[in-house]
Amino acid sequence: MAGMAAGLRLALYGKKTLVLERHSRPGGLNSWYRAGGYQLDVGLHALTNYNPAAGRDAPLNRLLRRLRLSRAALALAPQKESWILHYGAKLVFNNDFACLLDNAQARFPGAADGLRKLAAEARRHYMENRFFTGESARARLPEFIADPMLREMILMPVMFYGCAGQEDMDWGQFLIIFMSVFEEGLCRPQGGIRAIIDLLTERLERAGGELRLKAGVRSVITRDGAAAGVILDNGEVIEGGAVFSSAGWVESAALCPEMDPAGDAAAGAGVMSFLESIHVLDRPAAQLGLDASIIFYNNAPRFSYRKPDAPVDLNSGVVCVAGNFGYESPLPFEQIRVTHIANPDYWMLAPDKLYLSAKEEWRARSLASLPMDLPDFRSAITFHDTFTPRTIHKFTGKLNGAVYGAPAKHPGGDTPVKGLYVIGTDQGLLGVTGAMIGGVAVAARAALV
């Protein structure tokens, strides 16, 4: 998404732009595929930053404007409500921030005031472009949220939706995701991730840019310490004045020897990844008594966000009920996606035969471990598919399938090589909206220099 957004913005600046994708379909970490007769999304659970629909300062609107895309064309469907289930406690939130405030206040008296201050702090960081502060989110949060349990409950969705490191994250990044998820809210495009990808692809072509699929980059060419083009997997040489890599920092370093692949920027890379199962149902989830859009849950007193010893950490998870958003027309089929933190080493190294049976085993164990607050929907499943860190690595090249990249981020996109920029996960703004905002920002900086 970062690559498409950066490419489109460069084409709009009148630059000769070529977007290269190794896979047969654009999108990278957020894409789609067909299986069992269904068109299934990968990556996207929900798009963040839904509110407000109007106003040029809103991040999503500002992004769409920069890319000259119509918000109306995405037909964004707002979430109904989402739940945070934590060790017996439950918080409900929707796209009206007051809902979270009321819910938190009822269970944790005095909490609303702190959450309001947290939102104001997040807004201030956003307006000042302070996305990274170098401080610990866990160290700063007690100033705003006194109750340790509420802290875990607020951290859980934020970490699941964009924490590259284990247990803790940058305070600035926490604030941006807090604002994006809780204050601005969640939605899904009527047509899923494909709606966004198709819109970007069509707009890129109209702006004079070119997209080439099945065209992987084997290496970056440098001349006198500056990027001068790329060599493709098939040996073809493409000259270019600037190269924007959405491969990730360590992954880009592997393509360009002048970047240091073992430097500090690589620390903690390839640690946090996920296992996700997609379940297609024969009836709407609401008919089974499930009305929530997204359910974040954790069954332990403290939320453990780290690489588990087991292949999959079933103590926590995220359940996305794609049909439970306010669509203009019903979706062609119902699906529920369940995501857990996974141990990349296990999945990357498993021999093929074991790998396939382990996928089946952990899919079944995942379904059996869902919280009691959810109805058992196993008898309604008509089709399922599971992907692992290995699947993510296979289709995106991300080290160990780490969807959020390395903990160290590079907001300006600069690398030690002049004219070579990182965009996407290791630039640092995450999620579909974040990746595109980051791509556009780095492209604008590079084009206007």
Binding site: G14, L64, R65, R66, R68, S70, A72
Partner: protein, 83 residues
């Protein structure tokens, strides 16, 4: 290009930059930015599109002349007449 042609060209450019804006009721003598949600980056995009499409360079000191639709058309008319 006639004054009307230039007006159409401007509307075409703005509708590309801001696809969700309704441009039908734009008052030609009121500042565009009061009527359409355009920020300074959008404004630079308009200038860039004029250069890309019609090879017209608008120097920074002339930007105020692009405030309203009428002033934009009168500014561009001598520069686009021969197109």
């Amino acid at each position: 290009m006639t004054a009307d042609g230039i007006r159409q060209a401007i509307i075409q450019i703005i509708s590309e930059i801001a696809p969700d804006e309704d441009l039908t009721g734009v008052n030609p003598d009121e500042p565009l930015r009061d009527q359409v949600d355009l920020d300074s980056m959008d404004f630079l995009d308009i200038v860039m599109e004029l250069r890309k499409r019609y090879s017209i360079e608008v120097p920074e000191q002339d930007y105020p002349q692009l405030a309203t639709m009428s002033s934009t058309v009168s500014y561009l008319l001598p520069r686009m007449e021969s197109l």
